[in-house]
Symmetry: D2
Amino acid sequence: MIQVGIIGGTGYVGAELVRLLSNHNKVKISGISSAQYKGKSISSIYPGFYGLNELVCESQQEVMEKSDLMFLALPSGLSESIVEKAIHKDKVCIDMGADFRFKNEALYKKWYGKSFLAHSLHEQAVYGLPELNREYIRKSQIIGNPGCYATSVELALLPLISGGLIEENGIIADCKSGVTGSGKNLTESSHFVNCNESFAPYKVANHRHTPEIEENLSNISKENVKLTFVPHLIPINRGILSTIYTTPKKPMDIEKVHEKYCEFYKKENFVKVLPLGEISKINNVRLSNYCHISLHFDEENNKLIVISCLDNMMKGSAGQGIQNMNILLGFDETEGLTDVPAIF
Amino acid sequence: MIQVGIIGGTGYVGAELVRLLSNHNKVKISGISSAQYKGKSISSIYPGFYGLNELVCESQQEVMEKSDLMFLALPSGLSESIVEKAIHKDKVCIDMGADFRFKNEALYKKWYGKSFLAHSLHEQAVYGLPELNREYIRKSQIIGNPGCYATSVELALLPLISGGLIEENGIIADCKSGVTGSGKNLTESSHFVNCNESFAPYKVANHRHTPEIEENLSNISKENVKLTFVPHLIPINRGILSTIYTTPKKPMDIEKVHEKYCEFYKKENFVKVLPLGEISKINNVRLSNYCHISLHFDEENNKLIVISCLDNMMKGSAGQGIQNMNILLGFDETEGLTDVPAIF
Amino acid sequence: MIQVGIIGGTGYVGAELVRLLSNHNKVKISGISSAQYKGKSISSIYPGFYGLNELVCESQQEVMEKSDLMFLALPSGLSESIVEKAIHKDKVCIDMGADFRFKNEALYKKWYGKSFLAHSLHEQAVYGLPELNREYIRKSQIIGNPGCYATSVELALLPLISGGLIEENGIIADCKSGVTGSGKNLTESSHFVNCNESFAPYKVANHRHTPEIEENLSNISKENVKLTFVPHLIPINRGILSTIYTTPKKPMDIEKVHEKYCEFYKKENFVKVLPLGEISKINNVRLSNYCHISLHFDEENNKLIVISCLDNMMKGSAGQGIQNMNILLGFDETEGLTDVPAIF
Amino acid sequence: MIQVGIIGGTGYVGAELVRLLSNHNKVKISGISSAQYKGKSISSIYPGFYGLNELVCESQQEVMEKSDLMFLALPSGLSESIVEKAIHKDKVCIDMGADFRFKNEALYKKWYGKSFLAHSLHEQAVYGLPELNREYIRKSQIIGNPGCYATSVELALLPLISGGLIEENGIIADCKSGVTGSGKNLTESSHFVNCNESFAPYKVANHRHTPEIEENLSNISKENVKLTFVPHLIPINRGILSTIYTTPKKPMDIEKVHEKYCEFYKKENFVKVLPLGEISKINNVRLSNYCHISLHFDEENNKLIVISCLDNMMKGSAGQGIQNMNILLGFDETEGLTDVPAIF
């Protein structure tokens, strides 16, 4: 059995990986590391694991040695040096943070404030959106797992951008996320009383996922794709919904666009293009790895509106990480990811 | 003391009017009517009134006779004939529904499926947005109280549109509302389990407040204002937040625009333009009649983003109705509306 | 493969069964019936199933014919006659409602207003709490699946009552449930605005699960067990937490009682007795079939407090139904039920 | 105008006092102090005050000098020395914490870990439950404002205990509170993701309000009153609901008990005894100073169940503080507290 380690196993992404891997039939969790909780069991941090998973946090070094593949679920900027060591030992790395999402170092530096340490690693790394890069993922040893918002916006726009159907400039992505997206840290904005019965934009037109989306969509376009992206916090635990406003280049037939989407995603397990007339809603994807996409046309204003939603901890993060792992290791891509949405 | 009646006193708008008028020092509630609950007390429907307000629902006729001024809180299309009778008896009417929001009968017919019954009433009627029409409201006998979404979008855009600062076409209003906005009726979309832990767009680019906003903004512009409007349901009780994307006509200095907003609203009690850098959030206006507006500039994409929020039951409905009543009756405009937001 | 049908497949219990059976490796859903939605697909009712499960609702008759085993997820009182037919055709029945929970017809009649139709069915039927009746379930053809509150209270008290450790009279069960417990119907009490930001007792000391709990606990005691049971509604989707106050008969050593619980449940997969000092909380069992139990002693008042929690749709209903099915059909008892709690 | 200062004006209790005093016609806020936020405006901490209240935090000393009356909204143990200084300067003090709630120093020491500094202050101090101590409050200079849970349990039991109608031992108070009750601090238990979709007991039979309740109820009884008290956290902002199980000493006629409650509270503005058959619910008191009480009898088990609810920030804290101030200063007791509940 393949041994899978989790570096940073006690944040939300790490814990979600533990949860999902508990039901995966082809791999075994070799260990989890945590600086903060070393020596403590995962079930003492998340009592939902009580009696089910009694893994004890170890050092990064200990976990690395026992693992064939590692998930790195660390704050941005901390993965690169670990990946470097791991690659030396010929291990596979899936980085859940931003360190390997960019090819353009200048962009990375502008938004994350750091240079690349080892350029060769970034040359090898593949951006882990399977619907875009499956064949590259299969052959890679380093995956930069996409951001949650980025996944929701890119999946929504891939068919339009790759088909050159919309203006590449002036795209508006109005996105809304549940609170797990901002992590386990205690902050003013995640205090219950501040979130509950509220709804709040943040980092207006200034969020780090903007350049990630632009880089990836530009790569498949002939033009520079530019978007205005505004994230908002919804008082729910899980889920992202993106309402995306685009301008068709030519007179548009919404049924033809819908066919194009269906065609584009027909072999994909995890992307569901809803029938025309239906609307994507967060409760229809929660606790699953599925992404729902619905299409709407405002004829009077010539706006094609694409609405996508997914569970930010699943297809937006840990679920997608495991999808990438399955591809890399040659498993069925849906292994461990077949739970249908929680419905209620 | 002025006698104020509420026709349709048991829906959410009616009940909110009762709540607010209970603390108003210059008027007295003469009676409330309800077809469904005739003979029942308001406290048997909303037990929060127990021991505080034991008004019993009467017929429309009974309430009309005892009232100098009437609020009509009825489903769209039911007010016009009542207003006609009331005007005959020289009573003042504030319609909380859509019957008197439109000057353009064709538009009203297109979106609400009905013709005007008595055109003269519509000629007299004033659209009750005090920040736009205060002087007309003062002299009118029929007020069409604005829609909740419409209020939030119009207050956000008035300074830009009246100043001719943005493109009148291509405005995007991505709006989010709490569940009281869809009323007291039992529907699939207001079932707790369907709303909670979800977030859902509805009537995508097809909501009745679109033409209301366009008509009112076009009236103060030299151009036809056109917008794409998408409403969403947030799992909270109260509050609307509108994220509005506009395109400046000329190179924009956000500080100058901010000054313009401050100037525009400096005499208004209920509109607060936040300092640059601050962001409007629903929990800062809940249970109050205030509207917060914040301004943000996406320089790279030349988008001016205006974010407004208000309590849909207050400035978005009943609170604004009372503000209109205060203006009409010559009271201090803030009478009964001085509660600061609930904070938490 | 065993063919499993669901009679009443579109209510919450039915839909949860569909969700869980979708991940069960040993059985196949033969069909689902619905009077209200006949001819419609389950995914048109619960769009979370879109593209994953396109079962179309059929008549009860059609589903029965294709099934080896049937779940009946119907309002109380509607199952008995269907079970009668099914037994004739030698099919196995798991009734999710109350029709087969009682041995005492008088009690059933008092609380549910109906007599037994066919006494022989009730003689065969087994109350489907595996931790109490596993061996009987294994050999039975009719299972009365326990109520959600009843499961949480009975699992909490079994070790105490069977050991004769507490006064059988004067037990207090203060229970709290999420809103899925009251089902899919549109009612005042499930309207979002009425639940949200509230918390409400209902059927105070007058809930139908009281006699169910009393009958089952009395069966394993030498005394008549009597309890005061007050349910409350929590503004969450899933979960039940029961705070149960009992009076020890003799001076109590909480550590010994804890050992007793651990011993009592040591072979059980789905009951977790928490370490002393820990407290059961709903978020630690959500979306799983586990029941957490914690023990607390108020020495000054000689009260032993048992706190149990579970997911009302899982161990409190559909999950337990599948556990019963696994036992009946000789599968591993945890088949299809291994998901760890959702944590967040 | 009376000058009122708030020491500790930026925690939830302090901010709620600012909110309420903003609508009080007989007093003026002289200043607010904050160690943490000195020099900052209250509106920079709670943006709901933006443009409405621009008070800037000062030192305790500065506030004290400008004030005739002071509210102390500090963590337990920090008020006593300030009150000592204030009394020297002949100022009136209402302490919102626990420092002046106890007459029994040993009890205070046991639960709060501190001795009394100046016994004479405690001799002067009055426990500020107006329904119990109104006449003493009127003449006092130091008020110990009751705890939120304590208020809800004491108001529920006063008529029974003072009438000697129930067993003084073995009372069970199962209480549930919204998250504002645990304050503004960032803690694991107030992180949105931990509260939301959960429900959790805490400090089981070990909460500091237990001795406060026991002392006050014992004072009006001939017996030592003893209760088992278990608090729980509800995922809502505001509100406490207490379900209290008591044992009548003699055969009980629930209608007579109900009459007794009505009689007991007939002159009270803020306590509403609901008609028999009605049930107290949190959404019927939110954002108001009212306490609802409902009565229920479990005849078979001889348990009288009293359910009380109130808004923990209002009647449970700041609202009651202002009620005490009104009594002390000879104002109408309802001044500034007439808001009806928010209903929704």
